[in-house]
Amino acid sequence: MSAAKQRQLRRNDYSLDEQQQAVHEAFADFFTAECPSSRVRAAEPLGFDQALWGKVRELGAVSMAVPADRGGDGATLIDLVLVAEQYGRVLAPVPLIEAVAAARLLARLDADAAADFLAATLTGEMLPTLALHQVGHDPRQIVPAGAVARQVLALHGQELVLITAAAPPEHVENMAHASLAWWDLSAQSGDRQVLAAGPRAVEAFAAAVREWKLLTGAALASSGDDAVRLAVDFVSSRTAFGQLVGSFQAVANAIVDAATAVSAARNLTRKAAWFAEYAPHERRELQPMAYLASARAAVQAATTAVHVQGGFGFSVESDVTLHFRRAKGWSVLAGDPSRELFDIAAHLPASFQ
């Protein structure tokens, strides 16, 4: 109740500029045209569509993620978030986020080998992915895109290593119909190359996981947005008890709450991307907040959409079930999203005191 100390004045502009709007539209058009839900279903359960992945790469979705001085097109994290949104909206069966996060991690490393791997990644000869959890007592973990990739970047102790397998391990079925596989990341396994070591390796890996979460959050929020759209379409055309389903206040309010959560999560994710790009040492709690909000919003939106579609929403024929499976199936791969709260808590004193 006493006078607060003078605060920083910050702009609060969530709008897309012309170039960002162009990225948004280009990828929205592309994914809408190329990836109807039938294509998502056709790629199940492996969750990989080789032809689509080729087109995504051709469009530059991987190369744009790499800085210009490392051979890429130097897009910002904001641009990458806008791409991930469109990927998530259609639930495209391609390892986009893993490839982007891995490529950017390689680009962050000094080793010559890393540069070679990065070059191979940019040409498409190689498709690396990322093991999200530091390798500990148990050398095995579930790796996203691990069923379609032959290379995994992993943090083993303080060593950042690239593990190469002769062929991707067997796909493991999962709720999201994602390209998951169990990888053995122990020192003994396969072809193993140390790309970096020490605190810098640890920080480079942590940054890659943060980016994977940022982009996955963007995808989740947009998945939620599409689930809301499907819910709105359904309840605006079906009747019950003599009126349109969507005119019942309880139905409408559930959708409103889901749409609200999704809108907030999308804006918060974009804001977090802005800070990560332009002010990476400030407001570091924004990235875990954005990821947490997006994971929760996606589950809320999918659950709501299933429910307001009634029996139809619970039948696999309904496309909301596609979103439902990814909402949880994607958001738990990096561990319980609510554990982000500890990361948030670690940053609060610096940001608010």
């Binding site: 493991v172 079925e173 999962n174 003599g242 029996g311 619970f314 738990v332």
Partner: protein, 393 residues
């Protein structure tokens, strides 16, 4: 008030052992695996075996095909079946239909159906929901038209679970379009082997199979009618409110939370497995439960379980479903990546239980009347809140 442990007599203890041994044999892994694969909600081998003991209608007298169980014995049987995850969906729908047949069936129909039900030869499904109708039973459009002494039926029903293995469907039809909606409804018990019936499978998110059933010029005799013409609404108020879980058995052992009891039991199972997971030491010797974060989450869910159990009637149906939906999602989060691996997948936590639980939970808010409708019932019947204005009869 009484929450004491029931002291079992020697006879009841013996009965319990009998049930347990019986189910060890007949509710075996093959039955469970078939159910997981097909989602049929029914096992004919198990059902036949139950019938051989009179346990399809266990509280019926022995001379009617039952086993004459007392409420405690019946509770023991039902708990054992539930604890072992027996596929009993069609048994449940049959139970609802039997009530309507007893009250409204012609003597001939009763003779046709009731002994055969007890013998495990007949099971029945529910033909309620229509493609555009949702939960609005009064808006039914499937028509039944007089044809000589019988009827001709045309229309379509969605979500007729069990139609592929049932002998009869309890069908809600419109027989009068000139009167307010709920005054022009008639109910029938339709034999599913009649010409003109087509059954198409519907797969669900939860893995259960249900069906769309199409009726094209299906002819049935008037003997299959349940209750007076155009007065089906009255017939429905029995089974429907039963399906809505508003009635409670007599036994002081019974749950008070109506239809929510089954959903709470599912949450109970998920919770027990999660607690087991949390108390199991990992490779580094620590247990997840050592961490306050895990303790807080599981304590919340354990509290929800008691809340669901203590919530009466229609309120309990809402809580049973919604707490299951919320907590099944939180449990997947808590357990982490191995919780999204399904039954049979390498490394799936608790053999895929969490992956299944999160999907299964979603349907519980819709089965047998949505939670939205249940809230309306609580508002109007329990709390006496005013009804919204209506536009149609």
């Amino acid at each position: 008030m009484d929450f004491s442990t029931v002291e079992l007599t020697d006879e009841t203890r013996e009965f319990r052992r009998d049930v347990s041994e019986f189910l060890d044999v007949h509710l075996n892994e093959a039955v469970l695996e078939t159910e997981r694969r097909t989602g049929a909600g029914h096992s004919q081998p198990l059902h036949r075996a139950l019938a051989s003991r009179g346990w399809v209608q266990p509280t019926w007298p022995v001379d009617e095909g039952g086993a004459g169980l007392d409420p405690l014995q019946n509770r023991i049987l039902q708990l054992e079946l539930a604890d072992r995850d027996a596929p009993m969906i069609s048994s449940g729908t049959t139970r609802i239909v039997v009530g309507a047949v007893r009250s409204y069936g012609s003597p001939w129909l009763k003779e046709q159906v009731l002994p055969a039900v007890a013998a495990g030869e007949v099971i029945c499904c529910l033909g309620y929901t229509e493609p555009d109708g949702g939960s609005d039973l009064a808006g039914v459009r499937t028509g039944a038209v007089r044809d000589g002494t019988g009827w001709v039926i045309n229309g379509a029903k969605m979500f007729t679970t069990g139609a592929q293995h049932c002998q009869y469907c309890f069908l809600v039809t419109r027989t009068n379009t000139e009167v307010p909606k709920h005054k022009g409804i008639t109910t029938f018990l339709v034999p599913l082997d009649r010409a003109g019936i087509e059954i198409r499978p519907i797969e669900t998110l939860g893995g259960e199979r249900t069906n769309a059933v199409f009726y094209t010029d299906v002819r049935i005799e008037d003997d299959y009618r349940l209750g007076p013409v155009d007065q089906g609404w009255k017939v429905l108020s029995g089974p429907l409110s039963d399906e809505h879980g508003l009635q409670r058995g007599d036994a002081e052992l019974d749950e008070i939370n109506g239809q929510g009891a089954g959903y709470r039991a599912t949450l109970d199972r998920l919770f027990r497995h999660a607690l087991h997971w949390a108390l199991t030491a990992g490779p580094d010797g620590s247990r997840p439960y050592d961490e306050p974060f895990v303790q807080l989450r599981l304590a919340e869910i354990a509290t929800d379980l008691e809340i669901a159990r203590s919530t009466p009637g229609a309120m309990g149906r809402v809580n049973g479903s919604e707490l299951l939906i919320r907590d099944s999602a939180l449990l997947v989060d808590l357990v982490g990546p191995t919780a999204v691996l399904p039954h049979g997948a390498t490394g799936a936590s608790e053999d895929g239980l969490f992956e299944w639980g999160h999907r299964y939970a979603q349907g519980t808010a819709t089965y047998g009347g949505t939670t939205d409708i249940m809230r309306n019932i609580v508002a109007q019947r329990v709390l006496g809140l005013p009804r919204p204005p209506r536009f149609d009869g």
